[in-house]
Symmetry: C2
């Protein structure tokens, strides 16, 4: 029997959203997950399915129809498997959740922008921009869910959308020495993040995997491309990240070789 298939990249935060949602619904095993290697050109058979676009994840339904964009795929799965709802059903509560969800783009962009920055003179401004993002989330949560820890009673739609970013931003702790300050203006968002990170449905990755795979991003080379002088991508499947050493943290002073990275 034909299955629904998800074409995804391991460690991609947008792909992880789908895994979290399916886990919450108890449907993780009903979808066939096909891993795509981001360090190689997309295969022709995949480009034919997508009509030429390269972004992932892509969902292929059992009858061969293609759905793109993580939030669109999430909604499709939410509508297709309505039994354990993850999204809110009440119109106003759904609107609150959607307002928070729409803050995801700026939050994501600021974190990746900072990670990929190569100019030490810009670090302070990038840190400031990142703190502003956390402050906005804090303000939103204080307004709509002061008691916490989640936006509503349990880990739901907004948590599914944001948790993969909270986990990716471990790369800022490692490569930019960033820590969310222990101040009241971040207290509510910190509670949210801690509860998200601890949730059993969101354990698809670890700090070690994120830090090792995103080394090239920290040197300004995104999407499986290579920093100058390197022969293998830190996003490569082989050697497995578990047997590689932890990368050097001093991205502004040093460019690691393949050998230093265990590649």
């Amino acid at each position: 029997m034909a299955h629904t298939t998800l074409y995804h990249i391991p460690v991609c935060p947008f792909c992880q959203r789908i895994e979290i949602l399916l886990t919450l619904k108890g449907r993780r095993d009903e979808i066939d997950f096909q891993v795509i290697d981001i360090t190689r050109a997309r295969p022709d058979w995949l480009l034919q399915k997508t009509r030429g676009t390269t972004a992932l994840p892509i969902l292929e339904t059992a009858d061969g129809r293609i759905i793109k964009e993580s939030l669109v795929i999430l909604q499709y799965l939410e509508d297709s498997y309505p039994e354990r709802p993850v999204a809110q059903r009440d119109p106003y509560r759904r609107a609150v959740e959607n307002m928070l969800t729409r803050m995801d783009g700026d939050f994501f962009s600021q974190g990746y922008l900072w990670l990929m920055n190569q100019d030490p003179a810009r670090r302070d401004a990038l840190r400031e921009g990142m703190l502003q993002q956390y402050a906005q989330l804090n303000d939103f949560l204080l307004e709509h869910a002061p008691a916490g820890p989640f936006l509503f009673e349990s880990f739901g739609w907004a948590e599914t959308v944001f948790t993969p970013f909270f986990q990716r931003f471990w790369f800022l702790e490692y490569y930019e020495n960033f820590a969310l300050p222990d101040e009241p203006r971040y207290a509510r968002v910190r509670t949210w993040i801690d509860a998200c990170l601890a949730h059993p449905a969101a354990q698809q990755t670890t700090q070690e995997e994120v830090v090792k795979l995103y080394y090239d991003y920290s040197k300004g080379a995104g999407n499986g491309t290579l920093p100058p002088g390197r022969g293998r991508s830190s996003m490569a499947f082989e050697p497995d990240w578990r047997i590689r050493p932890w990368p050097p943290r001093n991205k502004y002073e040093h460019s690691a070789t393949d050998a230093e990275l265990g590649l």
Copy 2:
């Protein structure tokens, strides 16, 4: 009895989406529309409602709760008034509509970027970028709705989202002499646009209003700000746009005075 209130800016495309949806649902008269003057600072009472943000539209529910972001407001109204559905209900069809909806940001940005451009050397590249946007819409419609004219049987969610932009882009015809080329690669999107523009639920504005109000945008001054040397905004409520002359079209060679614009 307290009403639901929409705070909006006339001629704002994001605000018009709400009017179109309510018209399709036969609910236009149940919402209290409060006009906000974009040429003045936001009043304190409004900033209190929004907790400091200035973007419009804003919906205030009858019990005083605030909803921001046009797409979030659309979904809230769709959920609150489910009787005449505008969005698709089948999960796959809803996903198709959502994929098209997610193309709205790039389409909008490209059009406004071109309108606000002040450098004649960049015109060709901006025209090319705009054509690419139309080609992408054309491709999407060919894949999912080759027969047309709409994405599905009738004017629906995607049409509600895009039609205000099709009408705003009359400013490109006027100030940039842009016309979608009469070529097969744009034939499907042209059919869609024509059907959208002709729909009775989407007649909230006219080419004349758009062209006259957006003059300052064509000179690079957005959101009610003033181009150099000017005292009044083309977005001002007085004098009414109907009694003003049509603005000069030669934005790269000439800067009209308040008097020339009938302000």
